[in-house]
Assembly symmetry: C2
Homo-oligomer: 270 residues x 2
């Protein structure tokens, strides 16, 4: 099964567009876990156990594992393995380098970590993205319009059209293997509509709901296709750190379920 099939399957089976971001932070996980063997994996495992019937994907950001050195990366590998075959894993890495180097990154992400999809930066253009899209069974989400304050520095520049729109158009051209997607922040809900109209059925990964303050209703309405699909609404910290006590996994579950249901209430309003 390729990434898109796996995604569609999870969306259908779990009736969910919710993606849980597994952005580990040892200073925020419940203290008692720090005494366990492999606290990172132990934390992720319980979060996964409680949410795997509520999500369409998991999105660990590799930065938070790199931060803990080899130990963190080993835990990431175990986490991806533990998620298993039913739910796709988007390993958020935002890599972007010349072709020769991009091939090495793609190999690492898709073959070593066995992720189903990843995120890449567009700045170096087509030959920096191609080594990823050559993995036909894998998904490649190209950064388009991001959810941080600095999106204004370059992404909206341009006289004829803003850069983010040029990126969206180009990615549509590059999508020969049908495995491209875009990243568009929930903080730009209006532009989401315009981008959705431009790229048709392409999946859009939408971070920025929750801690970053994006508008959920408009992100969902404007992000989905006419069938109410292909929008992946990511929330990280507000789900996984919903509680820092013994009940953390249950709190994450309750929060994820509420969010999943709220997302579904907007899915067919588009």
């Amino acid at each position: 099964m390729n990434f898109l099939e796996k995604l569609s399957n999870a969306v259908k089976v779990n009736n969910s567009l919710l993606c849980v971001g597994l952005d580990i932070d040892l200073s925020r996980i419940p203290k008692f876990l720090l005494n366990k063997e492999d606290p990172i994996f132990t934390f992720n495992r319980t979060i996964i156990d409680e949410t795997r019937d509520l999500v369409c994907a998991y999105k660990p950001n590799i930065a938070f594992y790199e931060m803990y050195g080899m130990y963190g990366l080993e835990s990431l590998k175990r986490t991806i393995e533990y998620i298993g075959e039913e739910i796709p894993v988007i390993l958020d890495a935002k890599r972007g380098d010349i072709a020769h180097t991009a091939s090495a990154y793609a190999k690492s992400i898709f073959e070593n970590y066995k992720a189903d999809a990843t995120t890449v930066s567009p700045y170096l253009g087509h030959d920096s993205v191609e080594p990823f899209t050559e993995y036909k069974d894998k998904g490649v989400f190209v950064l388009c319009l991001t959810s941080n304050p600095g999106y204004k520095d370059f992404q909206i520049l341009g006289d004829e059209e803003p850069l983010y729109r040029t990126v969206a158009r180009r990615v549509k051209e590059w999508n020969k293997n049908g495995n491209c997607g875009l990243v568009v922040g929930a903080t730009s809900a209006n532009e989401l509509k315009e981008i959705r109209n431009l790229v048709g059925e392409m999946p859009i990964l939408i971070p920025g709901v929750g801690a970053q303050g994006g508008n959920l209703q408009f992100s969902v309405k404007n992000g989905v296709t006419k069938k109410g699909e292909r929008a992946i609404i990511n929330t990280s910290r507000s789900i996984i750190y919903a509680s820092d006590r013994e009940d953390y996994a249950r709190s994450a579950k309750l929060f994820a379920r509420r969010l999943k249901d709220e997302i579904n209430s907007y899915r067919w309003q588009g």
Copy 2:
């Protein structure tokens, strides 16, 4: 000593603007090394031994170590440690993510790997770069105009001015701690002149000489300051894989020395 001081020192002591890119590839290193304990580190160590009096910096690209999983990353760590205090290490990583995530990457690169400098992508704007520049003693090279074919896709777009020039101007504004630099490919030697004029004394990392076919003479002439400094001319594969036989380290040394001298012959022509 901060990165710039360390760089200036190495430039002076070795009379060199040459940076050797340690882009490991186990299929290209001499076969007999594969039987040694830690072939990656063994290869790097001999290359470093033979070139450490010829260079102003080393630039391992982390992609080629990530490709070999934990083993590769352990070897990278050993390599950086082995380079020691005299020659600065630019860990080429081209990271770019929202501030919270960028902090995790910066921590990994500067604290775990103990690199002296790194490369970052500008696409997410100022708050994606700031967590790196906050490490005042470290150098941060922002991608400006790259040496691959895809630079045309976005970097030269813009009516009033091309994107790469906007990036250069912004980085100049962001340079409050005096630790920013730019990456400009040797394949754009004319634009190098324009960028040098714009950014004054800021260091410019110039890849793309060698395997990628950039023009050495014009890259050096146009890249240096009036004092013939602050241009870091990187070559990776054509030095470290100059030979794949027993004499590989000596071949690398000869090639590096020739290149260093050729660079010096253009340094004061600007």
